[in-house]
Structures are given as structure tokens and as C-alpha cells.
């Protein structure tokens, strides 16, 4: 009856350090850990790696691709969608999505041209403010009223496009910038032979990287995207963070639209920016940001959008294929990337 063995204490006495089991350097668990690290490295930097690879192969095989002129033009063409994709990255990391960017871009383009007759300041400030306002309203509906971002920004896509057509007299007006205005140098000017929009894109991404990775707000965005209930319980202002990311998206779209008008001098159609949301989302996803939110890389987004444009450029330069073959290639490229991402992330989760 007294043979009950004394159970050794499972909890170490206080004051004694808890010994952690050191990670194995060999065996299956180590292999899994290495695979996980590799997968995470690939999914975070895969777009950059593929971009470098495509650039090298492209320069080697297509003689007109590697020329300074071609690279300069491709960078300039990509800069408008790149700026939009920077804002989209914030929205997607926060667990949302912004389908309205194409229509809001058109709003900025048209407003900037309309306002240019009141001077450069109006041509810059009014469209950007209008786009931030649109973002804030959508963010309010999403964060305060708790509606799904997909639906709210889908309504924004429809409604804002309607507003643009309303402003332009059902799309019949193509407002242009009267005379030459100072703000047009933002689009047409260049520094070190590289167009100003490219420099502005780099600034936007540098600031975006800093905000996302080095500020409390950026950490809050990632936390909200990872698990908004948990973020709320930790005391993060979930609603304010959500509203802010849509305002950021509006801001970047506004900047992009103003630059577009500055480069073109106005005269763009009311349907400008159609389907931009698709390219922006594709770039963000290719860049390794998960649509589920919580995890993402703004540098990856820059690589993703550059990759889309470089591939299009290579198709045109190297294979002389028409625009609809480009569509097919872009679509299947996106598909391959997302399938790889899904497979890799599943393997790392189960490993």
C-alpha cells in the first residue's frame, strides 16, 4: 500500500533556469527546420531572385532589352502602378483588399487636369486630398461598420468610376493642362537621365518600407492582418489602423494619378486606370505578400511590379508578340507564382 512511487517534480524549482532543448543539427527535425527557413526565404525574396534571373537572361538573349533607353522607359512606365501597389501592400498586409484603386486613379488623373487651371498647388493637392478622402470613407465603412473590404471597395470601383464619368460629362471631356505648369516637371523632368516619377516611386517605397518595418504603426498593421481579434485584445487601435491603411492606399493612388497627369499633360480618357486593381494585386501577391494578411514585404511588391513590366517588355522586344499573348503570359505567370507560394507555404507549415 505504501508502494506509491513519488512523482518527481515536473516543475523546476524557482530560481533554477529552465533548460531548453537545443535544436538538433542533424536528423529529420533539422531538415524540416532548414526547409522551413529556405521556404520562408524564397517566399519573401522569391520575386527579387526571379527578377534578377529574368533580367540576366533577358539581357543575354534579347539585344534591345538591356539598353539604357529601354530600361529607363520600362521603369518610367512601371512607376505609376508601382506607387499604387505600394499602398495596396499596406491594405493587403492588414488583411483587407482595395479593388477601387483603378477608379480612384482615374479620379486623381481627371481632377489633377481639371484643377491645373488654378495652378500647380491645386493640381497636386486637390486630387490627393480627394483620393485620401475616398480612402477614409471606404476605411470608415470597413472598420466602423464592419463590412467586408471586398464588397466596400467593389462598390468604390463602381461608384467612383461613375463619379469620374459624371465629372467628365459622361466621358466626353478630356481635360488637359492649360499652358505649361510647374507641376508637370514632376512627370516630365528627370534627374541623372532617369525620369522623376521613377525617383518618386523609389521615395514612396523607401518611406513605405520604413513605416511598415520601423514604426509602431507598421507593426500594428501586421498584427491586425495576422489576427485582428488578438490585436484588439492586445490594445491596438484596430479600427484606426484599418481606416489608415485605406487612406494610405488613397494617398498613393492620388500621387500616382497626379504624376500621370503631370507626365501626359492631361487629355486622358475617363476610363483610364481600368483593371489597375488587378495588376496592383498581382504585383503584391507575386512579391510574396499573403492575401490572408499579416505577412508581407513591400520590397517584394516593388520586385513584383517590376517583374510584370519586365516580362511584358521582353515579350514585346524579344518575341514580338501582341498584347493579348502578353495577357496570357502575365496571367499564367501570376498563377505559377501563387501555386508555388501555396505549395511552399503548406510544406513549411506541415514540416
Amino acid at each position: 500500500m505504501t508502494a506509491v512511487p513519488t512523482v518527481p517534480p515536473t516543475v523546476p524549482p524557482t530560481g533554477q533556469p529552465v533548460h531548453l532543448i537545443p535544436a538538433a543539427e542533424h536528423g529529420s527535425s533539422a531538415r524540416a527546420a532548414r526547409a522551413r527557413a529556405l521556404t520562408s526565404l524564397i517566399s519573401r525574396n522569391g520575386a527579387v531572385a526571379v527578377l534578377i534571373l529574368v533580367m540576366i537572361v533577358g539581357s543575354a538573349t534579347v539585344p534591345t532589352f538591356g539598353t539604357a533607353d529601354n530600361l529607363r522607359n520600362t521603369a518610367l512606365a512601371a512607376s505609376f502602378l508601382a506607387i499604387i501597389a505600394a499602398g495596396m501592400t499596406f491594405v493587403i498586409i492588414s488583411g483587407g483588399i482595395d479593388l477601387s484603386v483603378g477608379s480612384v486613379y482615374a479620379l486623381a488623373v481627371i481632377l489633377s487636369a481639371e484643377m491645373s487651371k488654378y495652378g500647380s498647388v491645386a493640381a497636386i493637392v486637390v486630387p490627393i486630398l480627394a483620393c485620401v478622402l475616398v480612402g477614409l470613407v471606404q476605411g470608415f465603412v470597413i472598420a466602423r461598420l464592419g463590412l467586408p473590404p471586398f464588397i466596400v471597395t467593389l462598390a468604390g470601383l463602381t461608384g467612383i468610376r461613375g463619379l469620374v464619368f459624371f465629372i467628365t460629362n459622361e466621358g466626353n471631356d478630356h481635360p488637359s493642362v492649360p499652358g505649361s505648369q510647374f507641376f508637370e516637371t514632376l512627370g516630365t523632368g528627370s534627374l541623372l537621365t532617369i525620369g522623376n516619377p521613377v525617383w518618386i516611386t523609389l521615395i514612396v517605397f523607401a518611406v513605405g518600407w520604413w513605416v511598415l518595418n520601423r514604426t509602431a504603426f507598421g507593426q500594428a498593421v501586421q498584427a491586425v492582418g495576422g489576427n485582428d481579434t488578438a490585436a484588439g485584445l492586445m490594445g491596438l487601435p484596430v479600427r484606426r489602423v484599418k481606416m489608415t491603411v485605406y487612406a494610405i492606399s488613397g494617398f498613393t493612388v492620388g500621387v500616382s494619378g497626379v504624376l500621370s497627369t503631370a507626365l501626359s499633360g492631361g487629355g486622358q480618357e475617363a476610363r483610364v486606370g481600368n483593371a489597375y486593381e488587378l495588376s496592383a494585386i498581382a504585383a503584391v501577391v507575386i512579391g510574396g505578400t499573403l492575401l490572408a494578411g499579416g505577412v508581407g514585404s513591400i520590397v517584394g511588391t516593388l520586385a513584383g511590379i517590376t517583374l510584370l513590366y519586365v516580362i511584358q517588355n521582353l515579350i514585346v522586344q524579344g518575341f514580338n508578340l501582341n498584347s493579348y499573348v502578353q495577357q496570357v503570359v502575365s496571367g499564367f505567370f501570376l498563377l505559377i507564382v501563387v501555386v508555388l507560394q501555396a505549395v511552399l507555404s503548406r510544406r513549411s507549415a506541415s514540416g
Partner: protein, 350 residues
């Protein structure tokens, strides 16, 4: 998406915790407007449709005559068919953005087969062309389903890639050009009537009933809704998730293909850059306005039909009153948000 859950949690924090017995009478007072909110959630789309019809009968000239109804019936079928497929996909918690591109592919395949050799076609009989066009839709749908169910890519990105690529494929098939079709049978599709109702409307009606029966009365329908309600639980319950999902996307592809062929018959030509453009947005709008939640787990067929009719009639009404197209687009945006807001209010207080 995830924001709904936060709001719901915040909402429930304002309400005292429920006892095991559930609703107490004093608690009911703490949730104002439950009666009308629940009613609107369940029947809002019918109320709106009823009001719109009433308004039109009273104030819109030339509304209550046969020609208007017939025009409406002629315009409805493509969007209706696409919306039915979309409702099923949304019921599984997914979304299908590729339906417009699928319409274009089906149209292009049909045109390529039936067009005479002088127009770079294969000069095949129309019935073969129609069948293979639908077959193309099936292939696209199965492809979507495999990417979603087997590769486990999120539906929005999986189908986004085909939205981009699919229209390109359609343009490649027709060589980038509009293909005019002078086939007698397409005139039958376009103009034929039975009991004063166009054939295409009959086709749409029959397919609607078929989809409703499949969703409500078959094992497959229950599995579809179960997957949308709780994917993990469905897996644990032994539901063949992959097969069910692939079938749902395949049905969506086939319905979109039929819609594409009807649209082609109406247009008398296959124009891959125009057929089915933005139809995915119209379909999602109709499904959501009809009361199917985007989060899945529920499919409302009659609501979807009402949603399609409502949005179509709204556009017609605004045109009839000389409201510019731009304003009707703005109104459409507001209606989408309002519809979902009403449903959400109702859900959190019900």
C-alpha cells in the same frame, strides 16, 4: 473578410452575456429594431424589387407593356446564368472572377468552329460549336477548381489569374478580331419565343430551377454549403471536399460558357474583348444584394434571381428617367454597400 468578426465581437460585448436559456425578454429591448432588421435581412431584396416595380408602374412611361418586359427578359439571361454559378461558388466561401473571361473563351471557341473557312474558321456545324464552347467553359471551370481545391490557392487569386489570361486566350483563338456570325440557328436563339417568352429566358429559367434543386435537394448541395460553412469540419466529417469544390467551379464555368454563347447570339458576333466584360462584378453584386453572404455557408437562389432582376431593372429605370449612366453607376455602388450593411446589422442583432 476578417473585419466582420471584429465588429461582431465588439457588438456582442455591448450586450449582457446570454444565459443558457437564450433570449430573455428584457434582453430583447437592448437590441433595437430586431423585428424589421431580421425582416429586411431575409426579404430586403424582394422589398426593394417590389418598391421599384411599384414606382415604375406609377411613374415610368411605357413601363407596363409587353415590349418592356420582353426587353428585360432578353437582357437578363447571361447575367442570371453567371450569377447562379457565382452564388454556388460564393456558397463554398470562394469567388469566381474568371466568369467574364470564360464567357469570352466560349464565344471565341464557338465562333472559331462555326465560322466559314474564308473567315479563318473551321466551318463546323453550329451544334458541335455550341457543345465545344460549353466544353471549353467546363475545362476552365475544372482548371479553376483544381487550382483552388488541390493546389489550395485562394479563390480570388486563382480566378484572378484566369481573368487576366482567359480574355487573352479568347483573343488568341479569334486572332484578336471580332468574328461576325451569320448562322440561322443564332437567329433562332436571338428571336425565338415560346408562349411569348424568349427561348433564352426559358433556358435560363430551367437552369435556375435545376441549380435550385441541386443546391436544396441533393447531397452535393448540402456538401457545398457545408464546405462554405466550415471547411475544416467538412474535411473531418469525411465530405469529399476536393471533388465538391472542383464540381462547383466546373458548374460555374459551364453556366458562364452558356451565358457567353447567348451573349454572342444577341451580338451576332464574337467579340472577345467585349463579351462578358465586367460581368463578374455584376454577378457578385447580384448575389450579394440577393442576400448570399460572401463568407459562404449559404446559397440563396431566389434571392440571387431577385438581385439580378433588381439591378437590371434599376439600370433600366434610371435610363428611362434620363439619368446619365454615370449617376446610375454611383447609385449602384451605394446600393451594394447599403444591401450588405442591412444584412450585417441584421446578423449582429439577430
Amino acid at each position: 473578410m476578417s473585419s466582420v468578426s471584429t465588429a461582431a465581437t465588439n457588438e456582442s460585448a455591448d450586450v449582457p452575456p446570454d444565459g443558457p436559456s437564450g433570449e430573455r425578454p428584457d434582453q430583447r429591448r437592448l437590441r433595437p429594431g430586431q423585428g424589421w432588421a431580421r425582416f429586411l435581412r431575409e426579404h430586403g431584396v424582394y422589398v426593394a424589387l417590389g418598391l421599384l416595380v411599384l414606382y415604375n408602374v406609377l411613374f415610368t412611361a411605357h413601363f407596363n407593356n409587353v415590349a418592356t418586359i420582353q426587353l428585360l427578359f432578353a437582357q437578363l439571361p447571361p447575367v442570371l446564368l453567371v450569377s447562379l454559378g457565382m452564388a454556388m461558388v460564393i456558397g463554398t466561401g470562394g469567388i469566381d472572377l474568371s466568369v467574364g473571361a470564360t464567357m469570352a473563351i466560349a464565344s471565341a471557341v464557338m465562333a472559331k468552329l462555326v465560322a466559314p473557312a474564308s473567315a479563318n474558321g473551321l466551318a463546323q456545324p453550329i451544334f458541335l460549336a455550341i457543345t465545344l464552347g460549353i466544353g471549353a467553359g467546363l475545362v476552365v471551370g475544372v482548371f479553376n477548381g483544381v487550382v483552388v481545391a488541390v493546389a489550395k490557392v485562394q479563390p480570388i487569386v486563382a480566378t484572378l489569374s484566369l481573368l487576366v489570361a482567359g480574355r487573352g486566350i479568347a483573343l488568341v483563338i479569334t486572332g484578336g478580331a471580332l468574328v461576325e456570325l451569320f448562322v440561322p440557328f443564332l437567329k433562332v436563339i436571338r428571336q425565338g419565343q415560346l408562349f411569348g417568352i424568349p427561348y433564352v429566358m426559358w433556358v435560363a429559367a430551367i437552369l435556375t430551377v435545376a441549380v435550385a434543386v441541386v443546391v436544396r435537394r441533393t447531397t452535393f448541395g448540402y456538401r457545398l454549403v457545408a464546405i462554405g460553412g466550415n471547411l475544416r469540419a467538412s474535411v473531418l466529417a469525411g465530405i469529399p471536399v476536393r471533388r465538391t469544390l472542383i464540381t462547383v467551379y466546373a458548374i460555374s464555368g459551364v453556366l458562364a460558357a452558356i451565358a457567353g454563347e447567348i451573349a454572342t447570339a444577341r451580338l451576332r458576333a464574337s467579340d472577345p474583348s467585349y463579351i462578358g466584360l465586367l460581368v463578374e462584378l455584376a454577378a457578385i453584386t447580384a448575389v450579394v444584394v440577393g442576400g448570399t453572404p460572401l463568407s459562404g455557408g449559404r446559397v440563396r437562389i431566389v434571392g440571387t434571381v431577385a438581385g439580378v432582376v433588381l439591378m437590371q431593372m434599376l439600370a433600366t429605370t434610371l435610363v428611362a428617367h434620363n439619368i446619365p449612366n454615370s449617376v446610375s453607376q454611383i447609385v449602384e455602388g451605394v446600393i451594394i454597400v447599403a444591401a450588405v450593411y442591412i444584412q450585417r446589422v441584421a446578423r449582429s442583432s439577430a
